[in-house]
């Protein structure tokens, strides 16, 4: 299933529209005495059809992923040292006409009058990944990777066909792709 999805997505990647819906604006690695702290700011732009789905009771789950990888030769797969995910559920309540944002990691939530306010909250920098320096070897090469995307598996089955046909419905292609930062010890 995963390979087929990858095949379809990669075969259709050429027709991805130029307007990226999720972008990583300020990736950063903070060097503290004991830790490396990786964080970023994001920019979310939802198309009308996605907001329409949201207002029609489809909760949208966003994932912010952070990873530290050991860089290996090109023929080998990089080894993941540490990986964390932050999940945010954005939903809409018709009765109060407000948007609800819940962080599944710490179970905090907030309500917002407009979608822009809710997205603005999501875009704020949040310290994401903290890795102890003693976990990393100075003799090896590491890189930090950041990605924000739509959790496609959380969408109803009837929405998922849109994800496989981004040339027809590019608004559902919400993925920043992996942003890589070189980690110099």
């Amino acid at each position: 299933m995963v390979w087929l999805r990858s095949l379809l997505l990669s075969s259709l990647i050429w027709c991805q529209t130029a307007t990226a819906e999720i972008t990583i604006t300020q990736p950063e690695i903070l060097d503290t005495p004991q830790h490396y702290l990786i964080s970023a700011q994001f920019s979310y732009k939802l198309e009308e059809s996605v907001v329409d789905a949201l207002k029609n009771g489809i909760p949208i789950v966003f994932i912010a992923e952070y990873a530290i990888e050991e860089v290996t030769p090109i023929w080998d797969k990089n080894r993941v040292i540490h990986h964390v995910e932050h999940r945010f559920v954005l939903s809409y309540r018709e009765f109060t006409n407000r948007f609800y944002l819940i962080s599944l990691n710490n179970n905090t939530h907030g309500t917002y009058d407009t979608i822009e306010q809710a997205l603005e909250r999501m875009e704020q920098r949040h310290d994401a990944l903290s890795v102890k320096k003693d976990m990393l070897s100075p003799k090896k090469e590491y890189q930090a990777k950041i990605r924000a995307s739509l959790d496609e598996s959380a969408l109803p089955g009837l929405i998922q066909p849109y994800l496989y046909t981004p040339y027809l419905w590019p608004e559902w292609k919400l993925d920043s792709g992996w942003h890589t930062l070189s980690l110099t010890l």
């Binding site: 999805r5 489809i58 018709e94 009765f95 969408l155 109803p156 009837l158 066909p161 046909t165």
Partner: protein, 741 residues
């Protein structure tokens, strides 16, 4: 399809593509059926549906395109069966498309009508929400009324003791928080169950202050972490007492009643659930539309492919039959048609193969017969070409069918025996053969079955005597044509004439020669006895008369001698001598008599010849003398003598520029009494010819256009150098054919 396309698209490749396309199409149908049956699975099935449909559609489309391309190519090329194939494809496709289109139209209509009735639920839910809002507004209204009842006390109470009053009022009104602000929004008093008082109190929000300063109430439902939702109400507290007090602002927080909150949650959930369902129904319709389009496309292409496939299978035997018919039409009988079916068409193909087998057998027999006939014809041609007689064959319509080489040679005509040309038309183009065609026409009109006749024709070689035999060709009492066989008997007639003349000359010489001497002696005696006795006048008469008798008798003697020479030529005495010297001597003799009129040209050193010197001298004298006298008595003609050796023969050509010889006389010039001179005996050339023939040689009168002089005649003598041998065969044949040297 082009040859290059068919080369790489071999049959196994096409079959593999067809199998993959069929499997993919069936899989796509199955997945679509499952997705329609359980829409929740569409998310996981969609990639497989897209993949299998894409493979199925592309392979079906490719196969159909290839088939249609082939069909169009065959149609354009006018290939056998292509037109029928196209017609069948059109019919089958129409039969397949009509039900698909009808079902599709009904399906679209049904899909459009499915989503009715959902709005009523939404209207009911909207009504519930309005009811909830009304209840909440009533609550707000009561709270605000209660708060306004506190305005008189709270606006005039001094700031220092306002907190206990607020505490009491909060409890009395069941508020969660009461905060009193001055008219500028600075906090005066505070009583709250929600939070602890802050060291530095926060002023009221400016927007709320400005709204309240205008005398308007502010109320809003806010979220709260503990109580979920709380109602925030802010009212202005106006002071109407002139002695004390001030305008103030009262901010309060109330919890939403649990019943209302639960109702709100339920209504919200119901609304959102319904909206979600409606939304997903819309998405489902979109997915159904996609599925419907895929099913329609797959069905259409499958139907089209099946139509092409089944028509190809159906047409294949007819196509093969048409190809076989064309093969038979082009003369190929040994290519039987492949018969793969056992139905009526298979029986037809088998019958056709049997018929082709019979035709092949018959054709081979016919070919053998034709080869036999051609062989016999060739043989007949060979025989006819070697015949010494001319043969002409006419069909029943008197059209020239065949004429052998000798016929053309005898008739001196390059007749081309073109089949279908009547002999009368041939005669118009070749007037020489007109006497023969006239004779033939007369005999045919007379109804003679067999006949023989003689006739003369005038050719470039002179008048020729022909002896013809004709016969009508009958087969089963049906006239098939005519055959005419003729021989050139000119030489034979000439020889017969020569023999007759020799006999006449011999008898004439014998009968006349004997009395001539007594006549001459008697005349001489009369002259001697009586001339002296007569007077001068009478003696003169006697002298003239006897002189005339003696002269005429001399002339008669010479004539008789000539006849005698012709009849009994002396025996040839062969000796070997140089012919060039002989030619020089004879030429010198005549040069002395007629200077400037004799020209001798010896083209190459001549070999010594074995012949009778005197006879050859006689021949040369005769021919040169004839040449010099050929211009008449008053004028002497010029004579050109040319001699050369070739192929064991001596050739001498003697030409003059005299009056020439008439065409009529040309063929008889070597016969006795054939002369152009008024006083000639006509035996000179006959004697010349006889002497040359005794030397195994030949003499010919050449055609006028073969020598350079404008008029006159030209004789060519051919003599073998050795008298024991005749002329070389090639030379003899060439000369006997009348070919010009």
């Amino acid at each position: 399809m082009s040859h290059s396309t068919s080369s790489w698209l071999s049959q196994p490749v096409v079959k593999t593509f067809t199998v993959i396309g069929s499997v993919s199409t069936i899989l796509a149908f199955a997945l679509l059926a499952e997705a329609i049956n359980d829409p929740d699975t569409i998310g996981s099935l969609f990639p497989f549906i897209v993949l299998s449909s894409a493979i199925g559609l592309s392979l079906l489309f490719s196969t159909i395109s290839l088939n249609l391309y082939k069909l169009v190519q065959r149609f354009i090329a006018g290939e056998a069966g292509a037109r029928l194939h196209s017609r069948f494809v059109t019919i089958f496709v129409s039969l397949a498309l009509i039900p698909i289109i009808i079902i599709s139209l009904f399906t679209i209509q049904i899909l459009r009508q499915q989503d009715r009735g959902e709005d009523e639920i939404m209207h009911a839910l909207e009504g519930s929400r309005e009811l909830y809002k009304t209840a909440l507004n009533e609550k707000k209204k009561r709270i605000i009324e209660n708060l306004y009842q506190l305005s008189a006390a709270l606006s005039t109470t001094p700031r220092s003791i306002v907190d206990p009053l607020l505490e009491e009022a909060r409890d009395a009104n069941k508020a969660m928080e009461l905060v009193l602000y001055d008219r500028m929004g600075n906090q005066i008093g505070f009583s709250s169950l929600l939070s602890e008082p802050e060291l530095v109190p926060k002023p009221l929000d400016n927007l709320i202050v400005s709204q309240v300063q205008q005398g308007l109430d502010y109320h809003k439902i806010q979220t709260h972490e503990e109580f979920n939702q709380i109602l925030h109400v802010v009212i202005p507290l106006r002071n109407f007492s002139p002695e004390s007090g001030e305008h103030r602002i009262l901010s309060s927080y109330y919890t939403i009643p649990k019943q209302l909150e639960l109702g709100q949650e339920k209504i919200n959930d119901a609304v959102m659930r319904n909206k979600k369902r409606l939304y997903l129904d819309d998405q489902q319709n979109t997915v159904y539309n996609i599925a419907f389009i895929l099913i329609l496309l797959l069905s259409l292409l499958s139907a089209l492919w099946f139509a092409l496939y089944s028509t190809r299978r159906l047409i294949a035997p007819i196509h093969e039959l048409a190809k076989g018919t064309r093969s038979v039409a082009s003369g190929v009988y040994n290519q039987p048609i492949t018969n793969s079916s056992h139905d009526d068409l298979g029986f037809l193909v088998q019958s056709f193969n049997d018929m082709m087998l019979n035709l092949d057998h018959t054709h081979k027999n016919l070919q053998q017969s034709q080869q036999l006939i051609e062989h016999q014809n060739t043989r007949l041609e060979g025989i006819l070409s070697h015949l010494s007689s001319g043969v002409m064959v006419l069909d029943s319509q008197r059209r020239l069918e065949r004429a052998n080489t000798m016929a053309c040679s005898i008739l001196d005509s390059k007749m081309n025996p073109t089949p279908g040309i009547p002999i009368g038309v041939v005669a118009q183009h070749h007037p020489i053969i007109s006497p023969l065609t006239d004779l033939l026409k007369k005999r045919i009109q007379d109804g003679d079955q067999e006949w023989c006749d003689s006739l003369t024709i005038t050719t470039s070689k002179g008048v020729r005597n022909l002896f013809c035999r004709g016969s009508a060709l009958q087969e089963h009492d049906t006239l098939e044509g005519y055959v005419v066989v003729f021989d050139d008997v000119t030489e034979l007639v000439s020889a017969q004439k020569n023999a007759a003349w020799s006999e006449v000359a011999r008898r004439l010489a014998h009968e006349i020669k004997n009395p001539l001497t007594p006549i001459q002696l008697s005349a001489d005696r009369l002259r001697h006895r009586y001339l002296s006795k007569m007077d001068a006048e009478e003696g003169k008469v006697l002298d003239r008369a006897t002189h005339t008798i003696i002269q005429q008798v001399d002339a008669l003697k010479r004539m008789v001698q000539a006849f005698s020479d012709y009849a009994r030529a002396p025996k040839i005495k062969f000796s070997t001598f140089d012919p060039a010297r002989l030619l020089e001597e004879v030429a010198d003799l005549y040069r002395a008599q007629h200077p400037g009129h004799i020209e001798l040209n010896i083209q190459s050193p001549l070999s010594e010849i074995e012949a009778d010197n005197d006879r050859l001298r006689q021949i040369l004298n005769n021919l040169i003398k004839n040449g010099l006298e050929s211009s008449g008595e008053e004028k002497v003609a010029d004579v050109h003598i040319t001699a050369w050796s070739s192929d064991g023969t001596l050739l001498i050509k003697i030409c003059d520029n005299g009056a020439g010889i008439d065409d009529v006389l040309r063929s008889q010039i070597f016969e006795p009494y054939a002369t152009t001179k008024p006083k000639g005996t006509g035996l000179g050339l006959a004697i010349v010819k006889r002497i040359i023939e005794e030397h195994n040689g030949q003499i010919h009168l050449l055609d006028p256009d073969l020598f350079s002089m404008d008029q006159g005649s030209c004789f060519e003598i051919t003599l073998p150098i050795r008298h024991q041998t005749a002329l070389p065969p090639a030379t003899r044949e060439r000369l006997s054919n009348g070919e010009k040297p």
